[in-house]
């Protein structure tokens, strides 16, 4: 476990994020981030790499930002999701699991643009039982929500969100959860729900989506991932432990 956690702390993440920001100044976005993400051993920075079996994560990662262009925003997102799913003695938190990259990548695609959803007006707020009625896409909601988190940090503590203590961040996230923050075109409670759900998705989705790095969230939860069959073991009384497998093992 200790080995698996190598390079997972938030401090390390901030440090490497700082490097990435530096790279942005000097070079192109993609080049800078790829350079930052892959360290000398070909491992994904801040992830613990591919120790032992279950090595589908091996090889160079092309992980990078597809949606955010402002590292300040990405860093607020990163700190917020880490509070929702923090690193602890069980294993990595959202940052160590790559959740911020997962969310960024999702916001750049169908999820962010609500491509498979009915987005034709007229739009009315509606009752809670009628669900999502915003004209905003998720990409727009995340941008606005993150800006609001930064605003709350300034207003409440006169600091940047990423410079707050954990408890102060929690106070702000709780205000969103309780729908106490004014947002435009959407409620803060709704943004909180999106953020929480996206965090869980990033933590526990197959690593092919750039979260759940090294399948460490599956290891914590003892979910074996993509196993072809349990027919020989399903009648066992004993709890069965497996080395998890990613879908990437299917592509060979």
């Amino acid at each position: 476990m200790a080995e698996d956690k190598k390079g997972l702390s938030r401090r390390d993440f901030l440090k490497t994020t700082g490097i990435a920001t530096g790279a942005l100044v000097g070079g192109g976005l993609i080049g800078g981030l790829v350079g930052y993400n892959v360290n000398k051993e070909g491992q994904v920075a801040g992830t613990g790499g591919h120790k032992g079996a279950g090595s589908e994560q091996g090889g160079a990662s092309n992980r990078g930002l597809m949606f955010f262009t402002n590292m300040g925003e990405f860093n607020v997102l990163s700190q917020a999701v880490e509070r929702i799913f923090p690193e602890d003695d069980l294993g990595p938190g959202a940052i160590g699991l790559g959740v911020p990259y997962f969310i960024d990548n999702q916001l750049a695609g169908n999820y962010g643009s609500n491509a498979k959803e009915y987005m034709i007006g007229p739009f009315f707020a509606g009752e809670a039982t009628q669900g999502y009625q915003s004209r905003l896409t998720r990409a727009e909601i995340f941008k606005q929500g993150i800006a609001k988190m930064e605003e709350e940090a300034k207003g409440r503590f006169d600091k940047k969100f990423v410079d707050l203590e954990g408890g102060q961040m929690d106070e702000i996230i709780t205000a969103f959860q309780k729908n106490e923050v004014d947002m435009k075109g959407v409620s803060s409670e709704f943004f909180f729900k999106l953020l929480r759900q996206a965090t869980l998705e990033g933590a526990y989705a197959d690593p092919i989506y750039n979260g759940n790095v090294n399948m460490d969230a599956w290891r914590m939860k003892e979910f074996p991932g993509n196993q072809m069959t349990y027919i020989a073991e399903i009648e066992n009384d004993k709890f069965m432990k497996y080395e998890p497998k990613s879908l990437s093992s299917m592509e060979h």
Binding site: R83, I84, F85, P86, D88, L90, G93, N110, Y111, N114, A115, K116, E117, Y118, M119, I120, P122, F124, G126, E127, A128, T129, Q130, G131, Y132, Q133, D170, I173, Q177, R196, T199, L200, E201, Y204, A205, D206, Y209, A217, W218, M220, K221, E222, F223, P224, G225, N226, Q227, M228, T229, Y230, I231, E233, I234, E235, N236, D237, F239, M240, L247, M250
Partner: protein, 570 residues
């Protein structure tokens, strides 16, 4: 200007279980059948990367594209109906196999009581057991009349089960394949329910216990218990679905074809007959008219009702006057249940969609309702479907939903939590109905279907009574903490509940209170048939597919007979 195509004998709108069964049976009888499917072709070879909770379970890869078409919803007539912008409460299907691709495979025969619910309730409890606001009526067909068709569907699907339930209708033959494996989790339920004096039995399953060849010569494989059924296709061809059974059966006759990306927008009617359908090729935008001697609506509940409404066939139901039949008796399902937190870890990630045990002691009229303020009930089951980590984050009462404590509790309890759930009957109410939305349209310019629905007093009472029963079973199973389901209040279209929508195009004995006759033939057009759970006059205490399959096989017999002789089948 629409292009008119060559006439066929039978056209089905949609190719899931309904379209596949009608297609296979009519093609076997020598009729030329065309299935119009708005989605794409797909089959077992497309499910090789199916063990992906995120793509299929969370992002709904196999489901309907709501950007093209959805429904609108309100709880009651005073509310403004708004579009269901995201999938939630139920998961609409699309593509070959329809919802029959991503079902779990629970395959029940509705109880004899269900088909004669009005007569039997009146006889036993008097006419005032429920107020007249509940639109209770008999189906116009009895269990005994349907029995051969239940058997036929089960043989096509190779259903695995055991005839060990004292409460269900008499079976002429045993299940085609033996029950699935009885796992330690199922045994906990078996022991607890036996201790409490109930009669547990293995849930009838379309995830097969052994390889099977059906009477049409189609092969279905043995389930591997991989834990990816509901919302997923089966990469082994071990979960019976239309694309591995009735569709290939239809195709090998040489009399059957499916046209994909064909979205039907209207049923064409002239005088007292229909002449065919109009559809749009969703890839080119071209309009076509497909003439047919017989039109069969075999899409989902929602779309079958909508097509009749936009085509002006039948009288729309008006909740104000009670007149009209099209859209009435929409019902859903009531879901009592309890969660139990255990000390020991269990192999909860292993499983299959229909790997379960059930008791029917509180279903239908299997228990006395004399002193109860509701009718009917629910099958109560434990189902080891295989729980997955994004969706399953079980939290004991009063645990925060995020942060350090959340993470620890959700990880700890993931392998230590079990659920007992009921499929509760849903009795139609005069205020719960389907109509056309006056404001919102789909991508083809056709109005959205509008759903007005809320839970009733009957629903709330049924839910409360049965939730207590499930909690008692969970306690007997040895859970250290039992969390009973919260009482139901207003129906909420956001959280997933069940894709067991019924009604709107109900069957019956009279055109005064039903849309189709007991052969599913439309009262106003003898060559138009409407097939699916929309025919249910109420929703029973089981999953609907077994009963849909039986009704479809019976309708197919009628369509073949009609094609020879014409006229009304009743």
């Amino acid at each position: 200007m629409a292009t008119t195509l060559d006439k066929v004998d039978v056209v089905t709108v949609g190719v899931g279980w309904g379209g596949g069964i009608i297609g296979a049976e009519c093609a076997k009888a020598g009729l030329k059948v065309l299935g119009l499917e708005r989605g794409k072709s797909r089959g077992t070879e497309d499910y090789q990367l199916i063990h992906d909770e995120f793509r299929y379970g969370v992002r709904y890869d196999l489901m309907q594209d709501l950007s093209k078409e959805t429904i609108s919803f309100r709880n009651n007539r005073k509310m403004r109906a708004l579009p269901m912008r995201q999938m939630g409460s139920f998961l609409l299907g699309e593509g070959l196999g329809g919802s029959g691709t991503h079902w779990n495979g629970h395959t029940w025969r509705f109880l004899p009581y269900d088909f004669e619910i009005k007569s039997m309730t009146d006889k036993k409890y008097g006419k005032d057991k429920l107020s007249s606001d509940y639109l209770l009526q008999d189906w116009g067909v009895t269990y005994d009349e349907l029995e051969p068709y239940f058997e036929k569907f089960e043989k096509t699907a190779g259903i695995s089960g055991e005839d060990a339930n004292p409460f269900w209708g008499k079976r002429k033959s045993d299940f085609p394949t033996p029950p699935m494996k009885k796992t330690p989790i199922l045994k906990k339920f078996e022991k607890a329910t036996s201790n409490l004096g109930y009669t547990p039995f293995m849930l009838p399953s379309a995830n097969l216990s052994e390889p099977y060849e059906n009477p049409d010569g189609e092969s279905i494989m043995a389930c591997q218990y991989c834990g990816f059924c509901e919302r997923f296709g089966c990469e082994y061809g071990a979960k019976t679905s239309p694309e591995i059974t009735v569709v290939p059966t239809a195709r090998k006759t040489g009399n059957y074809d499916v046209r994909f990306h064909a979205n039907v927008v209207e049923v064409l009617k002239k005088g007292n007959k229909v002449t065919g359908v109009k559809y749009i090729d969703t890839q080119t935008g071209e309009e076509f008219i497909q003439p047919a001697n017989v039109v069969v609506l075999t899409s989902y509940v929602m779309n079958n009702a909508k097509l009749l409404m936009v085509s002006g066939i039948g009288e729309m139901y008006d909740p104000e006057t009670g007149k009209g039949t099209l859209g009435k008796n929409y019902a859903y399902q009531i879901l009592p249940g309890a969660t139990g937190f255990f000390d020991e870890q269990m192999n909860v990630f292993m499983g299959a969609g229909s790997l379960g045990m059930t008791i029917d002691d509180f279903n239908g009229d299997n228990f006395d309702h004399g002193n109860l303020d509701f009718i009917h009930g629910a099958s109560l089951s434990i189902v080891q479907t295989g729980v997955r980590p994004i969706a399953s984050n079980p939290l004991p009462p009063d645990t925060p939903v995020w942060g350090e404590e959340f993470k620890k509790a959700s990880i700890h309890n993931y392998t230590r939590t079990l659920n007992i759930g009921g499929q509760g009957a849903s009795i139609p109410h005069k205020e719960n109905y389907l109509t056309l939305d006056p404001n919102y349209k789909d991508a083809y310019g056709v109005p959205l279907l509008q759903l007005t629905y809320n839970f009733t007093e009957q629903d709330k009472n049924l839910h409360k009574y049965l939730t207590e029963k499930t909690a008692a079973i969970m306690k007997e199973m040895g859970a250290k903490t039992v969390m009973a389901g919260s009482p139901i209040t207003n129906y909420d279209i956001v959280p997933y509940q069940t894709t067991h929508n019924t009604g709107g195009t109900i069957m019956g004995v009279s055109p005064d209170n039903s849309v189709v006759n007991s052969q599913l033939q439309h009262w106003d057009a003898e060559n138009l048939f409407v097939v699916g759970a929309g025919n249910f006059a109420h929703n029973g205490g089981y999953n609907p597919t077994g009963t849909v399959g039986a009704l479809a096989y019976r309708a197919a017999d009628g369509i073949v007979k009609y094609s020879k002789n014409g006229g009304s089948l009743v």
